[in-house]
């Protein structure tokens, strides 16, 4: 009996050792264990195939940003505003990427692993260029060639879409996000979506710049001041607000609505990086090709 017992235990131990070794090997293959607090960096890291082990608000991320998929094993660190540092420590990251948004957490996270900061949203700077820079820097740091591919692919695709849209109606676009039935956020020329429009040769109907990439909140009646524009609704928005708005007399009277110039795209993280930009561009291209053929 005892021999059997010992044998089985040894077997278990060796199996465990083997699997641990395999895990180490796999971990080495996958590169350093990465954690981040910032959603824009999270989607960048996932898109270039980094070994992400911990990130914030994953439940919400899966609903709002949708893509890239977050692997099941990634530890959820809780809210972006109050990340759980103990959970971060237990995830044992080798490297933490952070943005200026959560700079207050740097000293605390430095105790866990080295922190490298890449700003994407800074007042007065183009988030698209900063996102490109961050993607390339992270790619170099992690030796992931997918980063450069992501940047170049997107630039090429935006160029291609530019030719496509050149055949369009030439009207400006107004990318907005509904807050409730009476308020929306607008993404101005200095927002990520605004930059994508510019690169695709499309005009943004919101002429002014907006602070921190989105101005909140605008009264819905301001939509009437841009009669020429296409309205691009970017979810997520509260369903009841969408229903209440679209049934209202005011909405139905808007030239854009009467002339079928409203496009609702899929859910996008408004404070995203290149993957969000790419999602936005693809949605627009898809939407407008559908409009033209339909």
């Amino acid at each position: 009996m005892s021999r059997v017992h010992r044998f089985s235990r040894r077997a278990i131990l060796s199996a465990a050792a083997a699997s641990a070794a395999a895990r180490v090997l796999r971990a080495q293959d996958a590169g350093p264990r990465i954690a981040t607090l910032d959603w824009a960096l999270l989607e960048t890291l996932l898109a270039i195939g980094a070994n992400v082990v911990a990130a914030t608000e994953l439940r919400q991320f899966r609903q709002v940003a949708v893509k890239p998929d977050v692997p099941q094993g990634v530890a959820d660190l809780g809210l972006r505003g109050t990340p759980n540092f103990e959970a971060l420590r237990l995830a044992r990251p080798d490297l933490i990427f952070n943005s200026n948004f959560y700079a207050w957490a740097d000293p605390l996270m430095n105790r866990i692993a080295p922190v490298e900061s890449h700003p994407i949203y800074k007042p007065g700077e183009s988030p698209y260029i900063l996102a490109e820079q961050a993607t390339l820097a992270i790619g170099e740091r992690l030796r992931l060639p997918a980063a450069r591919r992501l940047v170049e692919d997107l630039a090429d695709r935006l160029d291609r879409y530019k030719n496509l849209f050149a055949k369009g109606d030439g009207r400006p676009l107004l990318p907005i996000n509904l807050g409730d039935a009476r308020h929306y956020r607008v993404f101005g020329s200095d927002s990520l979506f605004g930059e994508v429009l510019k690169r695709m040769g499309l005009a943004n109907a919101w002429a002014g710049a907006t602070s921190y990439s989105a101005m909140a909140p605008m009264g819905i009646e301001t939509l009437a001041s841009m009669p020429e524009a296409w309205i691009v609704l970017i979810p997520p928005h509260p369903e009841d607000a969408f229903a209440a708005l679209t049934e209202s007399v005011f909405w139905k009277a808007l030239p854009a609505v009467r002339e079928n110039r409203v496009l609702t795209v899929g859910s996008i993280n408004p404070y995203g990086a290149l993957p969000a930009a790419s999602r936005f561009a693809d949605f627009l291209a898809e939407g407008f090709s559908y409009v033209r053929s339909g």
Partner: protein, 666 residues
Amino acid sequence: MSGAVNLPMPMRTGLPHFLPAVVLGIACVTSFILLLAFRPHVPGEAAPTAALDAILLWNSLLPRAAIALIAGAALGLSGALLQRVLRNPIADASTLGIASGAELALVFSLGFLPLLGGISRELIAFAGGFGAVAIVLALSWRRGLDPVTVAISGMIVSLITASLSVTLILARGEYAMSIHIWGAGALNQQDWSGVNSLAPRLGAGIVAAAMLLRPLNVLALDDSSAKSLGVALHGVRFSILILAVWLSASVTATVGIIGFLGLAAPAMARLCGARTTGQVMITSPLAGATVLFLADCLTQLLGPGFSDLVPTGAATALLGGPLLLLLLPRVNGFSAMTATADATSRQFRKPAVALSLLAAAFAVILALVLTLGPTERGLSVALGPLFSELLPFRLPRILAAGGAGALLGAAGFTMQRVTGNPIASPEVLGVSSGGGAGLTIALFVFGVPSPAVVLLSMALGSLGAFLVTIAIAGRSGFSAERLLLAGIAISAFCMAIVSMVLAQGDMRSYALLTWMSGSTNRAGAVEAWTAMITLVVLTAPLFLMTRWLAILPLGTSLSRSIGLHVLLSRLVLAILAGLMTAISSFLIGPLSLAGLIAPHLARLLGFQKLQYNLAAAILIGAGVMMMADWLSRVVIYPYQVPVGLFAALIGGPYLLWLLGRKERSA
């Protein structure tokens, strides 16, 4: 005999004062004409823009004006009804917690019960508002719905519901925007649907109020006289209450929280000369409609282009504080609240030994919160290397929470002594919200202020709030009710400032939300050291001021006759208490009520002697906040709950129980 009963308050007799009414009317008409003249126009070619302008005029501007009038009238009527039925001149949807209860219910249903999509917003808001007011009234029932008790219960229920709403908002991230705006009560309209749904409700409310006019009149008498006149007292009161809650909850569901309008309208009505119940019931809705209309015109006129200056509801909330102060002399508590709350006979024979035992218990708590924590495998005790790994994250927040709790315990103790009032505490007297106003101003002036600037501005805000409260209460002889009401007024004013910036929905509002949610999660070395150093520096002098602390509760005249420099001693202690509150508010946010319960628990345990009482209050405050901090990081790991919430959930009911207790001396 059938004539109306006069309102129970000092008044001038004679002709109604037409002048204020005329001035208000002219102001309304003028601002609306200005609004029509200067409203922004759609750019572009003539033909299509003319059509759009017409749409804007007919489907946005005019319904907005109509909804301002209707919502204002509904709130005015609701306020007048509430004040009459509760015989309380400061009852209104804001002070009774109706608005914040409705808000919480709507936030909750939006976030967690999407299946309820079929149920109307009004019904959900009504359920929340009615739940809140039911709690408030149940809590103050035993004191015969005494106005002061009702106001305090309302404030606490509002505090807790608002904090729960903030927690839900933060937990939901991006979706928050609609709640911000809605919480601040913006009147923008895109068609007549809001008007169509609210106008019949107002009409029904007016009809019901007209039918209830006779019982309303009788209700102005005391209960026994009313009964003898044959009024089914409870039934009538209850139906009037339901009507009032329904009116204000409908407004909340349609346009959000319009702060303190129910308070302002009847006050204006009286200013314009309304005296009898009938006059007040007719004039209050008119006054409410006028005030809201005027405020809404102004915010549209002053805002750039198509956008508003501030959400209208946030603007009217600014009226709340000053109005409450104006109405203070009219509030008569039924029973004086004096320092009898916990005059227990229990007393330790050897307080030093008892204090050491308390310290030992404190040490056990400290050890537990340091070692016990959740991991992905559930709750486990961290020892050895894991402990030293986690210590850098646990220790600062535990020190910050414990230090803040200790400071609050000491601040509450000091305030209760200075005012001679057992329910004085940083939260109740509006000192914590004063810190919030300071923070708001710092965010406005500096954009991204450094921690030192934040701390300084919060200290100035807290100190200012406390000094104003004391000054106002001192003028009316420092009675307990005046003090608390002044505190509530200051608190309302400060929170109105905070919510105006919150409604902007930018980075500043995120910073404010983070502060309001009161998380110790960000605590690092700076916060821990701040807590520890200020704890020593600020509480040590208190032990040297025991003479002041012992004499001041006896009252101004007695203190003076003993030879105490009353003003100086009060000022010094007030500054200390204000600073302690500011620092704890900086560390753990505005909500906790630890400053209230710690001194009481100390006395209830049997620490009657001053020094021991103070030391025990400090220890208990620290222990309570450390446990609250532990709960906040354990309950929904890895997500975290605001730390003040748990302390408030314990402290709020305790305060209300304290108020509800029958006085022994009576």
